[in-house]
Symmetry: D2
Subunit: 290 residues, 4 copies
């Protein structure tokens, strides 16, 4: 069985790495903040001294870090993954970064003779813990074949999106729809309030029909409870809507509803809700009536 290196043990990365380990893979981990690796050592997982060191001892390197800067640093910084790569190995980037950063990372990795797979995920912490992520994979088909069973230790499904970079773009489409559905729920509940319908009853009516979606259940609960602690913050949704609209517009594709959705998330930022959960857009939708 291949030896797996896992870089990035944050809120998402830690449970993902644990799932890899618990499925019997030999695991080696590295995290910039060393203390986050300690619990792994206690489970008998090896902790590498550097990304390069990790790469030298593994067949497959998974990277799950916060943004494009971290990804490129981990790859090409001092003692980076590139220093330890060789032909026949595979790097899987699961971090959410821009398409440009993904393509640059792929170029750097492939220049060493190693393979590259682009595999951002749809889902947050809870699905990560339960290995229920949806994995949006881009890359050569053979390269994805070779790591699919590994990916399925972390998620329930691998969607093949096309070449390297297409996983990232699929994530943009998913997040565009996520922001849109959040706003639709907010507008539905706000219309309901204007019509003197109870929120609870609207959620009940949505729950069993053609529109029923797990998001409505979860975010309906958030709105009902009024606890907007972030799962996925307004600021990140705004960022992704911006990227999606700009890219689509450049291709001449108008997205009228999504454009209205973007403005509502902009307004949520203006109302100081940027760091709250995306469900906080409900407060902005209701706003005029306060």
């Amino acid at each position: 069985m291949e030896r797996i290196g896992f870089i990035g043990l944050g809120a998402m990365g830690a449970p993902m790495a644990l799932n890899v380990h618990q499925n019997g893979y030999e695991l080696c981990v590295w995290n910039r903040t060393r203390t986050r690796a300690a619990p792994f050592r206690e489970h008998g997982v090896e902790v590498a001294d550097s990304p390069a060191d990790l790469a030298r001892h593994c067949d497959i390197v998974i990277i799950m870090v916060t943004g494009p800067g971290d990804l490129l640093e981990v790859l090409s910084g001092k003692d980076g993954v590139l220093d330890g790569l060789s032909k026949g190995m595979t790097v899987i980037n699961m971090s959410t970064v821009s398409r440009e950063a993904t393509l640059e990372a792929a170029r750097l990795v492939r220049d060493t003779g190693a393979r590259f797979v682009d595999a951002p995920v749809s889902g947050t912490v809870k699905p990560a813990e339960k290995a229920q992520l949806v994995i949006l994979a881009g890359g050569e088909n053979d390269d994805i074949d070779a790591v699919e069973s590994l990916l399925l230790t972390m998620g329930k499904q691998v969607v093949r999106c096309g070449d390297v970079g297409q996983g990232t773009r699929m994530k943009l489409v998913i997040n565009l729809m996520l922001g849109g559905m959040m706003v639709l729920l907010a507008e539905g509940l706000a219309a309901g309030e204007a019509f003197q319908l109870e929120t609870e009853r609207i959620l009940e009516a949505l729950d069993n029909g053609a529109l029923s979606a797990p998001l409505f259940k979860v975010k309906g609960g958030v709105i009902r409870e009024g606890d907007f602690t972030k799962q996925f913050p307004v600021d990140l949704v705004f960022k992704d809507l911006n990227l999606a609209l700009e890219a689509a517009g450049r291709q001449g594709q108008a997205l009228h509803a999504t454009a209205a959705v973007r403005e509502l998330f902009a307004a949520a930022r203006g109302a100081g809700l940027g760091d709250e959960d995306l469900a906080a857009v409900y407060k902005v939708v209701l706003n005029a009536k306060d």
Copy 2:
């Protein structure tokens, strides 16, 4: 057990009436076009000569006709239901009509001493056949209690929306979100096309995550197959979006995303798609690129 009268044996009404019959209720039916009642007679169901005749022989009268004109005709026209009503009876209107028509119908019925329940449904022909409708009930709580088990022979759930007229308003909220989700799916697929992602893969990525909804599965299939035979036509979605936006705006509630959605359905009408299934809005969303 109460005797049930059922008026209106159209595409929705016929399977609904059949479900009432098959659950052991003694049933009597009436339909303007007599031939549609024939199959019921063969099942041993009594066929009334007029709405008044039907009312005289029943405890509860269910009405499922096409619009406000038909509803008021069936009630107060010659040999109408009102002529056969008496204290202690209940009329349940399940037709989708405006709130004003609902309130007028309730007033007429209650003037005879009978009770009135407002119970439009969410769901189309297939859920009607399978008794899987979601029933949006408005009326006095006691009046709904008294007919709830009857309603559950036709649907899987009775949502209590408030007073008479609130069932109709709930349906407006559900249809507002239905139009919105249809457009979101269209914009997600259109963005995906601009990003060179396959429709099939986007539907797959949606299918298991927080955004997964039966509507996306069904309408994603419609778009993939390109067969826009109506289940629920563009014209009706436009009509309901119009009603919802006007009512919300009168209350001072802005619905920015829904307003963009309305315009796309207006454009679909302009493109000659008014009688196609609401999924045809996808063609308008893609339009600019053709």
Copy 3:
């Protein structure tokens, strides 16, 4: 010279009637609230006892009242204009009413053998005083020809919009653009504020270029001074936007920007600004940042 009857001496009607009088026409007036007619009597203008009485003594009857109800009352109520009309006379309705009310009024008037011209105006009190209104005329060309010089005592321009009812529709188009330009100014100033540009400087930059419009000067001043006493209230703009969008949508014409504009006026209503000047929509546009 023809004898002119003028019905409705409100904020708009009074200066309009005065301009007719000062251009040498023999004038007779009537107003429901009699005291408003007194200043005219002092100028030597005859005051009629009723609309019927006025009609009997005139060749042309101008009506400038508040809404469709008043228009129809003045025409067909007790001692109404219809009672005094005869073949060869002309009725000019300059009140702003729905197209349906205009068509109904035209039918009533024409049934007496008299002619009907539809002539709502673009412009508020100040242009009315200075005879600078733009008059949006609908009717038979000959009928408009016959009253054009009379109309030009009240305005600077008569725009021929087509048949009876088309003047009303032209006014809807003008008000649609009025609401839109007000929102554009608000969004331009709000963007300017986000970019740390002074309102005064933006208005200066607008003032001499291709975008310069009297509206920007006037409403820019309103926003700078912060005095939102109504000239033309938010509620009326909302009403007209609603009518325009519904009529255009029914024809399959999407109006995406106007739809966003409508929602902002809906939000202004929700914020309790319905009775303030339309410039108050600026407060809603800025809203998120407060």
Copy 4:
């Protein structure tokens, strides 16, 4: 009187330089494509060998080139302006570039001890020829004072927008409103068409009232004639709308109408109209009905 150097003799730059010359300033010009300088030589204007050469012989250097790349090349490329600058001189950038490029240019110029003024213009070729441009100036007040009379040989008005970079931002606000007014005109005409009003009559009704703006006259004519040869192309409007919305959204300022406007220009690109005049957005607004 100061000696003026003018770099960039394109469609805008040539008439602007000519106006400087004809107002009695001693002028020296440079243009990358030498042939464009020839007509100036015939008017007795000196033609420099390089930007550095030009700078060495002048007190004030005006730059009017196509984009940020050209601006930075002209300044810091081989034999660039920076090589000829010295304390006491002033560089005026009138090219339209991003705020970032403006700030970078200012830094480079100020490092040599010279002064920098940011002065993009509002207006196209015709106003440039007639010295009717509106000049949007950013910089130290003293620095603008010192060049104001020079700027007024090219335009009718200098708007002081704030520090260096604010001229650029003011231009973004103006272009945001330009795109918006273009779409409003398109939607007004499209609604008019749905209401069977003639385009000519709508333009007439707009022409004398509160909404009358030179843009409506010019672009109304373009639409009526159907000749969409670019004055200012769809692609550039889209680019500026994108920049404005992104910058405003980052500051938490929602611009709902402008967002809808942006999508219509995106759709115009998708319809292959990117290189046509911005008035071509009318075709997209009408689109659904074809």
